[in-house]
């Protein structure tokens, strides 16, 4: 036993030498498109593992691993909305080996200036979800959308959402302005599931929810969606009018995409975009979209997503004062 161990230790330097040489060779390899991908690709999320964004990233990149011939490693860097995640990203080389989530949290964090990255430093590569929000109220509380708007213009409305200062809060403020609410009381909850519970038991008046979040309760006749905040009605809920139809001209959806740092070689960006788009058009991913009432229309490439991200930034500017004032 002991002798075996000794002979093993004698072998150790011999085994280490080629490994060391390999490490040196890898470190000196020029970063170009030819040798992309160079090892596993890191995907940085800005919220907790197991959450909606994490699930999106895992499913969106799943089939791309095979196309690119590498693996995706998913890391969560939470803190300060997207501050920790973007700081981590900024410290990496622009070689396409690090991808990151691009969502409303990313835009808000850039707006706040808690990271050195600006909107010009990132390339929104692909969009994977565009899950529209519905205005949902307790069944029987308001006769129709007009009654809700009337009530909101004259009295106080308790609106539920999640964390203050985050995207759900921004959405609520945008809705307040679009409806012309006299007095909005924003009641934040820790988890999305609590929102629907408190809507059903009457503790709150209204909430913005995705279809998957309210449909069980709507089917049971507990809650009613007044409007979908999208330019057009959803095929999954054709009876629900758009906000534009009922006098709330507002579009809000949960947008999630993937980005890379600007400065990444163009061939690398193209390879990543193509691989991710292909991955997201796989059956498993389309099933994931269908699970929340979405279609392949939620998937978009660099051009469309880049425009949308710019638009998102300017929308947020309009409520920025309300948000930043609370800091």
């Amino acid at each position: 036993m002991l002798r075996d161990f000794k002979s093993l230790t004698a072998l150790l330097p011999a085994a280490l030498l080629p490994a060391a040489l390999l490490a040196v060779a890898v470190a000196h390899a020029p970063a170009g498109a030819q040798d992309f991908p160079n090892g596993p690709i890191e995907v940085i999320n800005n919220s907790k593992p197991g959450g909606g964004s994490d699930i999106f990233l895992r499913l969106a990149t799943d089939a791309a691993a095979e196309t690119l011939g590498t693996e995706f490693v998913h890391l969560s860097k939470t803190g300060g909305v997207a501050t920790t995640a973007l700081k981590h990203v900024a410290a990496q080389p622009a070689d396409g080996q690090t991808l990151f989530i691009v969502n409303a949290g990313t835009a808000l964090t850039i707006l706040r200036g808690t990271t050195d990255l600006t909107a010009d430093d990132i390339v929104p590569l692909v969009r994977g979800t565009e899950d529209p929000e519905f205005i949902v109220v307790k069944a029987g509380k308001y006769a129709d959308a007009a009654a809700f708007i009337e009530a909101a213009k004259t009295g106080a409305i308790k609106q539920a959402g999640t964390n203050v200062g985050g995207y759900p809060h921004v959405s609520a403020l945008l809705m307040r302005d679009a409806v012309g609410m006299a007095h909005q009381v924003y009641v934040p909850f820790e988890k999305n599931g609590e929102i629907i519970v408190n809507l059903v038991n009457g503790n709150i008046d209204v909430a913005l929810l995705n279809q998957a979040e309210y449909e069980s309760q709507a089917a049971a006749g507990e809650v009613v969606p007044l409007a979908i905040l999208a330019p057009e009605r959803s095929a999954a809920a054709p009876d629900v009018p758009t906000g534009h139809e009922i006098g709330i001209p507002l579009d809000i959806s949960v947008v999630r995409g993937i980005g890379v740092l600007k400065g990444t070689p163009e061939p690398v960006i193209e390879a990543l975009e193509a691989a991710l788009l292909k991955s997201m058009n796989s059956q498993a991913y389309l099933d994931y979209l269908a699970g929340s009432g979405q279609t392949a229309a939620s998937i978009a490439g660099r051009e469309a997503f880049g425009k949308q991200f710019t638009a998102m930034n300017s929308d947020f500017q309009s409520v920025a004062r309300d948000l930043l004032g609370q800091q």
């Binding site: 907790k48 593992p49 197991g50 959450g51 909606g52 994490d54 699930i55 895992r58 499913l59 799943d62 890391l75 969560s76 860097k77 939470t78 803190g79 300060g80 501050t83 920790t84 700081k87 808690t114 106080a156 308790k158 964390n163 203050v164 200062g165 809060h169 009381v185 924003y186 009641v187 934040p188 909850f189 820790e190 988890k191 599931g193 609590e194 629907i196 519970v197 408190n198 059903v200 038991n201 503790n203 709150i204 998957a212 979040e213 449909e215 069980s216 309760q217 089917a219 049971a220 498993a284 099933d287 994931y288 269908a290 699970g291 929340s292 948000l323 609370q326 800091q327």
Partner: protein, 504 residues
């Protein structure tokens, strides 16, 4: 009857049995590793699950969920390191038992309680889901506030240490819970401009620090002490007498765990804490709590495993996930084209039967695995401290790092290791701190939500029947002992009351 046939049909498929055995084995292992828990495990599996047959895929999620929840108890007992947050309360009595050389007994009690409670929880899930799901709607912020106050009302006596020290520990825990971004105002508190702290202190890392790190430092001061642990005693499983002793405990904790599991906002961690509290309140052995009472192991383990069945209730019937794990299971269901709701029970009987059979199978499987394994796992406590504890420290550091690949989290763990050591040295038990931390956050956020909902009139909380009941129970729990002592001793008073009751 039809359900039973479907369940048997599911279990008779060798593929499903292989899923149960494999899923349970991996789940127990992941649960036992500090830092990794059911949420991360199910998230990792998701891309594979969505390609599986729907029934098998959801069943696998259920298996892993049950097994990881149980697995947390193993490291909690053997090396004072809660494998998952829900197993934190298991360390309070589990580790003292192991230290005393009764690791096999503690593991056996944990395994038995976990499996029995898990099975009852699943039976409740399958029979009563359509009925109990409505309970979820009854709980708003006011009710959670009262429930958390009820949980904290045992703070003064939660550990055998002095009441004042328990209060100081509890207050410190509540203070720690205030770190991070305030839910209702968005203001950052005690974050010292560190983005890492903006979401509050990492609870699991902190617990690993207080429990495992603190214990390492304590053991470092005890290397000269000769331990007389007998190998045969270590591996000994609980006696029939032990099982008789914990029977009631398991049932009580199962009730608490199932109930809290059904509530959408809370899960196994709060359930284990409240079950531990209640057991300490009602057990005839309450003086032994914190020193190695088997009831103190049975209660939290029964509660957190019963909660796995409980959290499935609102997930399946209402589409409202009760926790992180069920949120991913719900996503998997939606991807596989399964819509949650009461209709699920009539439209998808094979899915329900599969989930039921799989979770039941997982509980039976880890019962066998745990009972056989206890004899071998328990021998870990025979490893000399000078070898075991440095190894535990590596595991603790790795576990703290792995969750977010963050060295900052390792720093948190180290900081709390020193804190845990000095607090213990000066007679502060970890139980009140952990309780303050877990329930403090719930108390604060639910109180502030109530304030917003009731237009600033907090007395409205007292108008909610469920909330009022819990608050009155808390009041009775706090004042009872004082009134009784004034009347000349708590036990005599109880006896006197019973006699008086007989006369009526």
């Amino acid at each position: 009857m039809d359900t039973l046939i479907l369940v048997l049909g599911f279990l008779s498929d060798p593929y499903h049995l292989a899923l149960i055995v494999g899923g349970t084995f991996v789940g127990v292992l992941v649960g036992a590793l500090p830092g990794l828990g059911p949420v991360i495990m199910i998230a990792l599996m998701l891309p594979f699950v969505v390609r599986m047959d729907p029934v098998a895929g959801i069943a696998l999620c259920g298996i892993v969920y049950c097994a990881t929840t149980y697995g947390g108890s193993i490291t909690a007992i053997l090396i004072n390191t809660p494998g998952t947050a829900a197993a934190a309360a298991t360390t309070f009595d589990g580790y003292p038992l192991a230290e005393r050389g009764e690791a096999g007994r503690a593991l056996g009690v944990a395994t038995f309680s976990s499996a029995i409670a898990g099975i009852i929880g699943i039976i409740v899930m399958i029979i009563a889901t359509p009925l109990l799901a409505r309970l979820a709607y009854q709980f708003g912020p006011a009710e959670y506030f009262a429930l958390a106050v009820f949980g904290l009302s045992m703070l003064a006596s939660i550990s055998g240490q002095s009441m004042i020290k328990n209060f100081i520990g509890g207050a410190f825990g509540v203070l720690l819970a205030t770190m991070g971004t305030d839910l209702t105002t968005g203001v950052e508190r005690f974050t010292f401009d560190q983005a890492h702290l903006s979401e509050g202190i990492a609870v699991v890392q902190m617990m690993i620090g207080i429990f495992a790190g603190g214990e390492l430092l304590r053991q470092a001061t005890l290397t000269h002490v000769k331990r007389n642990i007998v190998a045969e005693a270590v591996a000994r499983l609980p006696s029939r007498e032990d099982f008789r002793r914990i029977w009631r405990t398991v049932l009580r904790a199962t009730g608490i765990g199932t109930f809290i599991g059904i509530l959408p906002a809370e899960g196994g961690t709060v359930a284990a804490m409240i079950a531990y509290n209640e057991e300490r309140r009602w057990s005839p052995n309450r003086d032994q709590f914190g020193k190695g009472a088997i009831e103190g192991v049975a209660a939290p383990e029964a509660a957190n495993n019963a909660a796995t069945g409980g959290t499935m209730v609102p997930t399946l019937a209402l589409g409202i996930p009760g926790g992180g794990s069920t949120a991913i299971i719900l996503t998997a269901m939606l991807i596989l084209g399964l819509r949650p709701g009461p209709q699920l029970f009539t439209e998808q009987p094979d899915l329900l039967a599969g989930l039921f059979g799989a979770m039941l199978g997982a509980n039976i499987c880890f019962l066998a695995l745990g009972m056989i394994g206890a004899r071998y796992f328990s021998r870990i406590t025979l490893i000399p401290t000078t070898i075991l504890w440095p190894a535990v420290f590596c595991l603790a550091a790795l576990g703290s790092y792995s969750l977010q690949q963050s060295l900052f989290d390792v720093g948190i763990m180290l900081g709390f290791a020193f804190l845990g050591y000095f607090m213990r040295r000066h007679g502060y038990a970890p139980a009140p701190i952990v309780m303050g931390l877990i329930l403090g956050e719930l108390i604060e956020s639910s109180l502030k939500q109530s304030y917003l909902i009731y237009d600033g009139n907090l007395f409205a909380i007292l108008q909610q029947p469920i909330a009022l009941t819990f608050l009155l129970l808390s009041l009775a729990g706090i004042c009872g002992p004082f009134i009784a002592r004034a009347a000349g001793g708590w036990r005599e008073k109880q006896a006197a009351e019973m006699l008086r009751g007989d006369d009526d």
